[in-house]
């Protein structure tokens, strides 16, 4: 293992990447993105072994890819909270559930909320809130939940915050299960709407069979989110988060409004979690409380920690591994918890900073190093 990591380090992929000229980097990035879009059709032999549907009992390849990308969105969101601002959020599944439930409650023709609206305003039984309107509803609901949870609890530190957020995740799930009149309780909500699109072969554009379309949609959203997240990370806001993570008191004395930026981190994380939940619920077309167990929160945290908290590439890898590997090796399903535990312990011992740790931007300033040397020489 240590030899492997040494060999990996010997390649110095990150350094070479940064040293490469800009057109090369753009071309490389373009290749990676193109390959990602091509993945559902991957059928060239040795590579095709990564597909999950090689055996009859395997899961649908495109659906697995979709789930991977949804969890990647979750991981990027949780990375803002845990990796950058250093707030341990163990109830992230709560926001994920809120996103899924907001599209189900307002978009489904059979949800109690929509039925009540139909009766109240005398609308037809076919009426529901249009999909496009459900997106802002989901975003606002998770954002508001993030702020409501964050405003009182972000004054807590470390372990206390973890316990409160853990409780929050469970509260959302249990509320969804017990609030029969609103959420249909444990039975869940069916007929969750899908994004509108042209009909092809007599089927809706986004349907349960052509999962690769879902994958492409989610992938496009993920790329957009990564772009925005990087903008935040490399700004005054990102620096403030890092400063809070490193030493909150010193940051406050240096003029960083700690509470404000922590609340922003929480709200942004909540929004991304909610958005991922919305995609998930819409693809499933069915939302039920048992899909949002507390274990999922731990899985999300594990993605961030194993991948390399604070580094977007790292958390993407973490999300990929923890979603893909269990699907690829379904035949060893009873070994799954064991393998998961061993992997976690192994990472904690061999590579506590995560598989692809953040190189802490020291390298990014490489271009400016010349600038610095000139400046130092001026004196």
């Amino acid at each position: 293992m240590s030899q492997l990591t040494a060999a990996y380090r010997g390649l110095r992929i990150g350094d070479r990447w940064d040293a490469a000229p800009k057109p090369v980097r753009w071309f490389g990035l373009l290749l990676v993105v193109a390959f990602a879009y091509y993945l559902p059709y991957l059928n060239i032999l040795p590579f095709a072994y990564i597909r999950t549907d090689l055996t009859p009992s395997g899961s649908d390849w495109a659906s697995v890819l979709f789930l991977v990308v949804v969890y990647m969105i979750v991981a990027v969101g949780l990375n803002v909270v845990i990796g950058l601002a250093g707030l341990l959020d163990l109830g992230y599944v709560g926001f994920y559930a809120l996103g899924a439930y907001s599209i189900a409650l307002f978009g489904s023709k059979s949800s109690p909320v929509v039925e009540a609206l139909q009766v109240k305003f005398g609308l037809s039984e076919e009426w529901a809130v249009p999909f496009a309107a459900c997106i802002p509803i989901a975003i606002v609901m998770s954002l508001v939940a993030g702020v409501i949870l964050g405003a009182p609890t972000l004054r807590l530190r470390g372990d206390y915050l973890a316990i409160v957020t853990l409780g929050f995740g469970e509260i959302i799930r249990i509320t969804a299960r017990n609030l029969d009149g609103v959420t249909n309780g444990a039975a869940g909500i069916t007929q969750v709407p899908t994004p509108p699109g042209p009909e092809i072969d007599g089927r809706q554009f986004f349907n349960t069979i052509d999962a690769e379309r879902w994958y492409w949609l989610a992938l496009t959203i993920l790329i957009l989110i990564i772009w925005l997240a990087r903008r935040l990370e490399h700004s005054r806001v990102g620096r403030a988060w890092l400063a809070i993570r490193e030493d909150e008191d010193a940051a406050a004395v240096m003029g960083v409004a700690g509470f404000k930026f922590k609340l922003w981190a929480f709200a942004i994380g909540a929004t991304l979690g909610g958005f991922a939940g919305l995609l998930f619920g819409s693809k499933q077309q069915y939302v039920e409380p048992n899909a949002f167990m507390v274990q999922l929160s731990f899985l999300f945290v594990a993605m961030v920690v194993i991948g390399g908290s604070g580094n977007i590439a790292g958390v993407l890898l973490g999300a990929f591994l923890l979603t893909y590997l269990p699907e690829r090796f379904r035949e060893f399903v009873e070994w799954r918890p064991f393998a998961f535990g061993v992997a976690l312990v192994a990472v904690m011992i061999l590579r506590p900073q995560g598989l692809v740790p953040s190189r802490r931007r020291a390298r990014e300033f490489e271009d400016r190093r010349h600038e610095a040397e000139e400046a130092a020489a001026d004196v």
Partner: protein, 316 residues
């Protein structure tokens, strides 16, 4: 380094105006930019349970001076610092900065008012580069928040020298302006570099703070505090662990900080340094002020000699 000097003179003018209107007692003492009262510790008492950390401490810091705060270990120097920077709230008494009561104000608000500090036990952001550490300080005067960073909405009309060289980008910047985020980042980087050069550690600007040598870390703390453009900078034992040559450098640095237009409060054990660099000295012992005056007066004060200077080798 013309920029900070310029900035602080502008603020000083505003402040003098405010002082005369709001606080008559201070207005009487305001004789000009030098010599007016910048910070006033007004009969402050601070108790932790039964322990009296500060007992009726009373002194003033005048604009443009270097004030030394000395005393034996446990005299309450750092506690006094913490009360001034918002970490503790005094049990009794008031602390006024530019005539405004600041006791109980949140630390980051106090920083915005114009007080910055360094820490006795170095508290940098270890996983950030030296330059990023200073940029966090610069950010205290910047305004970009989440919407500005995400969508680059607040655009500003750039000055001629700020326009990019590339033709298309230049035309774009002329029509749509440059976002406040970009301008602030550039200004922050430039100023951070200036400050790192000012304290003499620009050669290792891009190394992580925790990998810097001890002396560099101490200087980096000073650069970070200066980046917040404070009127009053408080240095908590800046020479701790320094050898005589480094101490000599530090004395020069403290004088240059004052020459930039900052007022300096320095806590220090090293008597040679304190006597050499300060304009006035306040001496604390067991939480009480026992002497105040010029270095000569303090050095001759029998109480001080008994409490502090009399101890052999303590000053070494």
């Amino acid at each position: 380094m013309s920029e900070p000097t310029h900035g602080s003179t502008v603020e000083q003018e505003e402040v003098v105006l405010k002082d005369t209107s709001d606080h008559d007692e201070i207005a009487i003492e305001t004789t000009g930019p030098d010599g007016s009262v910048l910070l006033e510790v007004d009969h402050v008492t601070l108790r932790f349970g039964g322990v009296v950390a500060l007992n009726d401490v009373n002194f003033q810091i005048r604009r443009g001076e270097i004030l030394g705060l000395i005393g034996p270990n446990g005299a309450g120097k750092t506690t006094c610092f913490n009360a001034m920077t918002g970490v503790y709230t005094p049990t009794e008494g008031k602390i006024r900065f530019k005539g405004t009561e600041i006791a109980g104000t949140k630390p980051h608000k106090i920083n915005q008012l114009g007080i910055a500090r360094t820490f006795q036990n170095i508290r940098l952001f270890p996983e950030m580069s030296a330059m990023e550490n200073v940029m966090v300080g610069c950010d205290a005067r910047h305004k970009t928040s989440v919407p500005g960073a995400l969508f680059r909405i607040y655009r500003q009309r750039p000055k001629e020298e700020e326009l990019p060289d590339n033709g298309i980008r230049r035309a774009f910047a002329k029509v749509f302006g440059i976002s406040r985020h970009t301008l602030e980042e550039r200004a922050g980087r430039r100023r951070s570099m200036e400050l790192l050069r000012f304290v003499g550690i620009a050669d290792r600007a891009h190394e992580l703070a925790r990998n810097l040598p001890y002396g560099y870390q101490r200087r980096l703390e000073i650069a970070r505090a200066l980046a917040t453009e404070p009127e009053l900078i408080c240095l908590d034992e800046p020479a701790a662990g320094f050898n005589p040559a480094e101490k000599e450098d530090l004395m020069g640095l403290i004088r240059r900080i004052r020459d930039l237009g900052h007022t300096v409060l320095v806590i220090e054990h090293d008597m040679k340094l304190v006597l050499g660099v300060t304009d006035r000295i306040v001496v604390l012992e067991f939480g009480q002020k026992i002497a105040e005056g010029t270095p000569d007066e303090v050095a001759r004060n029998p109480k001080v000699i008994a409490a502090y200077l009399g101890e052999p080798d303590d000053a070494a």
